[in-house]
Point group: C3
Chain length 327, copies 3
């Protein structure tokens, strides 16, 4: 009994840790977001192709992919696409403009009039606690007239030195704001190009210049129970680099990666999926753990490696993630 | 005179920096803890072998190495082993269960009844300021009846995203709690497997995925005058990787490394010892510095390298550590 | 119109980000400080050679390069050199002794009596908020009698675990102190040898042991709008390593590097300069951006790479830095 109780504790802990439900929302369902495909919000043709791409999440972009003269067109198109297109298994997120741009209010009020709402909002250029307060107020205003009482998953995009310097207070405030606002913080995204430009770094293929920032984002995300999305690989024709970069991101603990071209989707989604062999290994390890636990042993050797609780937790994550992908 | 005064200042500074005495305890003796061997607290046979292993420190484990159904057995065994076994030059630490587990109080009250006490307590899964407050209260209760007024070295094990996010306030509070509690914070340990599972990282042999966390732990430890213990290399049969990983840990500034198998002890202890050539180099440099200082030169070239105060400090640490090992 | 407005915003943002003017001093001119050559303050012969070295910045050192018995001599020499030597295009900074040393007041009062003042002060061993307060008070005292009302650029040298642990509060306090003091915080320097000695790390040629600290310093510098100076490569005869280390520093976002030998100046200054090809690439990209922006496209492909705002920002920095070097 005692041992099965420990296993239950372990399994519950595993769910709490690996899945992205923030405190107070234990029932939120885990969503695979291995690839987030950014598409310009005013590019109707590309948006209509999304359902054929088998991508976990599309981000309809009203920000950097849209020129200032096209912002209104993008808002209208995004709203119409949300209503008209059946995205199938693909989750729909919208990237609005940053709070500082002065355009976020118009983005929200236009897009949230759609009869079908996006499930997530991506807020770019997050740099300060005050911005998050302004965003929460704007979102509260924008949903005031909506009968369905929607709640959006929030993806916070970090892409500046200031944003990373303020990361801990930003996260604390954002979690606290979500209690009285129609969003729950679900993920941190790291924006490498803007960040590199901001700190004056040169981007390289192995991204050594970003290792501190990327691992800080993973650490902060996981400390707050969030998903973490790695940077866009901009040389979209270099699939070999993309594969390597995506696999490294997965090893670092990122749960997905932003992409800008349909070519990138299958490569990235594969890199962030556990291999079949890994799933078999994880299932076997869990079984062996249960068996040894019943015999009163906590530590044992499985396929040549010492196993205790932390390795069990990793195995649990792999099995649960694989199950979520099969749905 | 002036120059010998500077040298004296330099030497004192060196002692203060390199040794692990926290503020207010300048007389605490430096303890080599190059390898910390974890042994299950209920494995009497393995514990009785420890004195033959020539290991700097053994950690009698009541936590992850002990199944829930065996916790009582482990407490009793640990207490008896402390009393019965002559560990010789090997320091004895005990890993209790985490504050969150609800088992720490029972661990402390059972083990601290031993007639021979451990010199150090290792507290796992440290994540918050509140936990440290609870631990301090528990320890104060547990020692209430002990006549010898013992003080324990505390090793704090960091193995989660949350623990690292809160590291600075945790350390400030722990140092402050130690003023009125029977412990002094002596070291930080980094737990790689639990940490990797917590952030969803995959462990690799070169540990790139941990570089941010490991270097953060070293930085925080040294800022608070503490020792720092690097991760367990779990593939205990791969001695070549172990040697490489241990040597990297030493280069990063860790002062020791956790191990789980007797095979690992000599390799790790060697990696965390200065080589004889290095000690000769350091002694020569110190002599040359003294000579140049008397001649009024602060900067000079020693074996092809510019030497000033920081390099002298490093040389001092090497010589003092070597001396401590010879005791 | 709208698109040219965005471009204007982008250009202004770029200036604000890339240049080192702290808030409230938007008119401060950008100063290339690719190499900072440290010369002992009492070595008149070496100081008189500086104008022939074509170095961006010389640091006349009263600290580690000067033995305690020579401090007075160094102060007098530095003051006389400032008055007598025409340093031409080379900026003059002075490294005083640390606040903790008790020597900083005498350094400031002696040196600031010079008829020609240094443009920058380098404060070493910065570790705490209190130190910065003491420094600000000392500097206010030292300039009390100076008619010209000088303001000095302040370079803060970080070279200990404690300094990095306290970096954020130190920077906040220093920026706030600069409002009522005759300095503006202009740069952070990273001191690798002292730092490595402080944390017990061994220095290696590829500096893996410093990656966390160095990238933290860049991040903090850029978050506060400051320049960042990378570590001294002490093996001054190994020019190939120096070139590699300097190029890595530039890629990481450092804007310059400390050097201790004239040999190092041209290598370092080249590493921190954009190549002619890079400047041509950047100019072409900016032109292409302007053209596409007028056509209402925000994202386009330039020389095989997706271009949006962040890459434009990088191109802007390169062109502006190249222009500053040609002055």
């Amino acid at each position: 009994m005692a041992s099965s109780k420990l296993l239950r504790v372990v399994l519950q802990t595993s769910v709490r840790r690996s899945y992205c439900s923030p405190p107070g929302q234990p029932s939120a369902v885990f969503r695979p977001r291995r690839a987030l495909l950014f598409v310009a919000g005013n590019d109707e043709k590309k948006i209509r192709k999304v359902p054929t791409l088998d991508v976990d999440c599309v981000v309809l972009d009203c920000e950097d992919a849209v020129a200032l003269s096209k912002k209104d067109e993008a808002r209208t198109t995004v709203r119409r696409m949300l209503e008209e297109v059946d995205f199938g298994r693909t989750e729909c997120a919208v990237r609005i403009n940053s709070v500082d741009s002065g355009l976020a209010d118009d983005d929200l009020s236009a897009i949230l009039q759609a009869k079908k709402l996006p499930s997530a909002i991506l807020l770019p250029k997050v740099e300060s606690v005050e911005e998050m307060q302004t965003f929460a107020a704007s979102l509260n205003d924008a949903v005031a007239g909506i009968e369905s009482n929607p709640t959006f998953d929030l993806f916070a995009l970090l892409e500046s030195a200031k944003g990373l310097m303020n990361l801990q207070p930003i996260l604390q405030e954002t979690v606290s704001l979500s209690d009285m606002s129609p969003f729950r913080l679900a993920a941190l995204c790291f924006g490498s190009e803007d960040f590199a430009a901001d700190i004056g770094a040169s981007r390289t293929s192995d991204a050594t210049e970003l290792i501190y920032a990327r691992q800080m984002v993973v650490l902060a995300a996981k400390a707050f129970g969030l998903q973490a999305f790695d940077y866009v690989s901009v040389d979209y024709k270099d699939t070999e680099s993309l594969r390597r970069q995506a696999e490294e991101g997965a090893r670092f603990g990122f749960t997905g990666k932003s992409v800008i071209h349909p070519f990138q989707v299958p490569i990235v989604q594969q890199a962030f999926s556990p291999s079949p062999e890994r799933v078999v290994w994880a299932r076997g390890l869990i079984q062996a753990f249960q068996q040894h636990q019943q015999e009163g042993k906590a530590v044992f050797v499985y396929e040549g490696r010492m196993v205790d609780t932390p390795i069990l937790l990793m195995a649990q994550s792999i099995v649960q993630f694989a199950a979520a992908l099969e749905k």
